[in-house]
């Protein structure tokens, strides 16, 4: 039985890092416990996806554990009421609303450098023309990934397309009700988890 358990663990979890629960049981099971601690995780999804909800659920799970989290909201699209409805403790959330992508990167760098944050989410979801991801150099994500590793902070990047390149330890592609591993250091790509979400209430 122990040998079987070891075999299962070897197949599911990347070594050397702990895991933080994503707040979604199915996704936790898919990832062998949750998002890797101290790593850059890319959550990619178009308009017809649940990328933001996946990130907010991870933030909510972190605040439930008593951790402090940060949401760098470049598109200025964060809705506190629906996030609170999803279980996010707003008093433990640092919400930053930069006006440019450059400021968003600088703010993320600062927050990661401060240390002590359980999860930091950088929201780069938006129109292609407005976001201009080409503006973000790959060295920015290298620097942010290093900062996250030093601070042992799980760093989520929410975007409509891939932006972090090879610096992401895990890339998830979100659909309307499913999340798939697209690229990962430690997992085989293509594995999918079905997540059931409820619509936010009008209140």
């Amino acid at each position: 039985m122990v040998a079987e358990l070891r075999e299962r663990l070897r197949g599911t979890a990347p070594r050397g890092h702990g895991h933080l629960s994503t707040g979604l049981a199915a996704l936790d099971e898919l990832l062998g416990g949750g998002f890797p601690e101290g790593r850059l995780v890319e959550v990619v999804g178009g308009q017809a996806s649940c990328a933001t909800s996946v990130a907010v659920q991870a933030l909510a799970a972190a605040t439930r554990r008593g951790e402090v989290v940060a949401y760098i909201d470049w598109p200025d699209a964060f809705d506190p009421r629906s996030a609170a409805g999803a279980g996010l403790d707003l008093a433990r959330t640092l919400w930053v609303r930069p006006q440019t992508v450059k400021d968003a990167i600088a703010a993320t760098d600062l927050v990661l450098g401060a240390g002590g944050f359980g999860v930091v989410a950088l929201d780069l979801f938006g129109e292609k023309k407005k976001c201009n991801h080409d503006y973000i150099s790959s060295s920015s994500f290298l620097r942010l990934a290093r900062a996250a590793e030093r601070a042992k902070t799980t760093f989520l990047v929410i975007a409509a397309e891939h932006v972090a390149g090879t610096f992401a330890a895990l890339t998830l592609t979100c659909g309307r009700a499913c999340v798939a591993i697209e690229r990962s250091k430690g997992f085989s790509p293509g594995r999918t988890a079905r997540v059931d979400f409820r619509s936010p209430r009008i209140q």
Partner: protein, 503 residues
């Protein structure tokens, strides 16, 4: 004379070069770190420390003085130390140490060796620390020049005429004869010469504000050289705070400008700190945000000291960001994105779904812990507090001071609830919507998509008692590409507004 009493005199060696006030204040802070009974003598630029009883902590007086000297000299202040049974005797010994170093050319070489002694703590201090030898204080005083007793000019002239050169010469004379010729001052001098000193030590209260002042020869118009000067000032202030076991809770920077005006800035720190780098960052960021409008001719930094907040970590709670680094981070964020564009979101007690508040991050949790009067109302979950309310208006956020209550009660949360992304299309959509005849589908030009399914309406009416009343019919619309948007029709204005994307 109280034989058990031991007083140490710390004498700044070069007050003019070091800044007399600063050196004296620094020595005072160091002394307060060793003993609660400290007297500061600004006139002589010296500090008297009652070290009686410190032998319980240190093996000998020599070690006490070595420890004091080590801390003071680490701050760049050169000083002389003398220890005696009274203040005046200790001062004479400290002055005598100075005399030994400055008297002759041989004294200069001795000064060099003295410097080497200071840099190597293992070397003997017996040459420099007068009053530590086994011989009595009276015998040690006997060899010192009589001017160290600091007689008045008239008395000094008489003593010179008598041929007295050393303190020992005076001590050997009969006291009654001295009294008959020199009066009361003569008795006092003779008592000192005989090592009889019972002047009480009057403790000076420890200061709660720490101040450093620097005057510039030329006006500064750039922040970089000012930061360079501030770094040194803050380093010294931080060391003084450390000596006292305190930390700065508030910082006040006063810049004297070329036109004699004063530019004052006061910073309240999120948590008491004595990290010079943190303080410098905070001051620099504040000055970048609020620059002076003329050249700077002088700068004064005041630190209001408080005991540092003990870090009480929860057994079952993860460690959060340290208060020092968090304060610096928030200040830097303020410089990057603006003070009004970050914080902790809070819900406002309003029926409008888009209403929210932005409160300073970390303050809510601190208030929970510290301020019992601001506890939540258990029944309604409200707290009366004026906050900066940011009305949600994505096209142009307007900030206003309001007395609106923040809702801090538990929001009923649903597990796995989807989040709403608020869109930028807050403008009226009446001109871009057209309802098709056959279905409930609506073509929205702004999104370039056709609505496949429309759920609703969910009517929301509120504030009907006020001029800001609203009535809306909300819909959740599934577009052809599978995405779901939330939009509403404003019944009063008869317009359509896209609220957000359910993402």
């Amino acid at each position: 004379m109280n034989a058990a009493r031991r007083i140490a005199c710390l004498l700044g060696e070069s007050p003019a070069a070091q800044g007399a006030t600063s050196a004296c204040a620094l020595m005072s802070d160091v002394a307060h770190g060793f003993s609660p009974r400290v007297e500061v003598c600004e006139v002589d630029s010296c500090v008297f420390v009652d070290i009686t009883g410190l032998q319980r902590l240190f093996e000998s007086e020599e070690q006490i003085v070595r420890a004091i000297r080590h801390v003071v000299e680490k701050m760049g202040i050169v000083m002389r130390v003398g220890v005696g049974g009274g203040k005046a005797i200790a001062h004479i010994f400290a002055e005598g140490e100075k005399r030994n170093h400055r008297g002759t050319e041989s004294g200069r070489s001795e000064e060099r060796s003295d410097f080497e002694n200071r840099t190597s703590p293992q070397t003997s201090l017996s040459l420099r620390l007068c009053g530590f030898s086994l011989s009595s204080e009276k015998e040690r005083l006997a060899g010192l020049p009589i001017r160290l007793l600091r007689p008045s000019d008239d008395v000094a002239k008489v003593l010179c005429q008598w041929g007295l050169r050393t303190i020992g010469d005076l001590a050997r004379l009969p006291r009654k004869e001295i009294e008959a010729r020199l009066g009361r001052e003569g008795i006092l001098l003779h008592r000192l010469a005989c090592a009889e000193d019972d002047a009480p030590l009057v403790p000076t209260p420890a200061p709660e504000t720490f101040r450093e002042v620097v005057d510039f020869d030329f006006g500064l118009s750039n922040l970089e050289p000012l930061a360079f000067v501030m770094r040194g000032m803050l380093d010294r202030l931080a060391e003084r705070l450390e000596c006292r076991g305190l930390a700065a809770s508030d910082v006040r920077v006063v810049l004297t400008l070329a036109d004699r005006r004063r530019h004052e800035r006061t910073l309240s720190l999120a948590a008491p700190t004595r990290d010079a780098k943190t303080l410098l960052d905070l001051i620099r960021l504040d000055l970048v945000e609020h620059p002076p409008d003329a050249e700077i001719e002088a700068i004064a930094i005041d630190l209001i000291a408080r005991p540092p907040r003990p870090a009480q970590l929860g057994l079952f709670e993860p460690k959060g960001p340290s208060p020092d680094r968090l304060a610096t981070t928030l200040a830097r964020l303020s410089a990057i994105v603006g003070r009004e564009r970050f914080g902790a979101p809070a819900l406002v007690d309003s029926h409008r779904p888009e209403a929210f508040a932005l409160v300073p991050f970390g303050e809510e949790r601190r208030n929970h812990a510290r301020d019992p009067s601001s506890r939540l109302c258990q029944t309604c979950g409200h707290r009366d507090k004026s906050v900066l309310v940011s009305r949600q208006c994505r096209a142009g956020t307007e900030l206003q001071r309001s007395d609106e209550k923040i809702y801090l009660g538990n929001v009923s949360s649903l597990p796995n609830s989807l989040s709403l992304r608020l869109c930028g299309f807050s403008s009226s959509l009446s001109s871009v919507l057209r309802r098709e005849r056959t279905t409930q589908a609506i073509a929205i030009d702004a999104l370039r998509a056709r609505i496949a399914d429309l759920r609703g309406p969910f009517r929301l009416v509120g504030e009907w008692w006020a001029a800001t009343s609203f009535a809306r019919d909300y819909y959740d619309a599934t577009l052809c590409d599978g995405s779901v948007i939330r939009l509403y029709r404003d019944i009063v204005a008869n317009t359509w507004v896209i609220d957000g994307l359910i993402h």
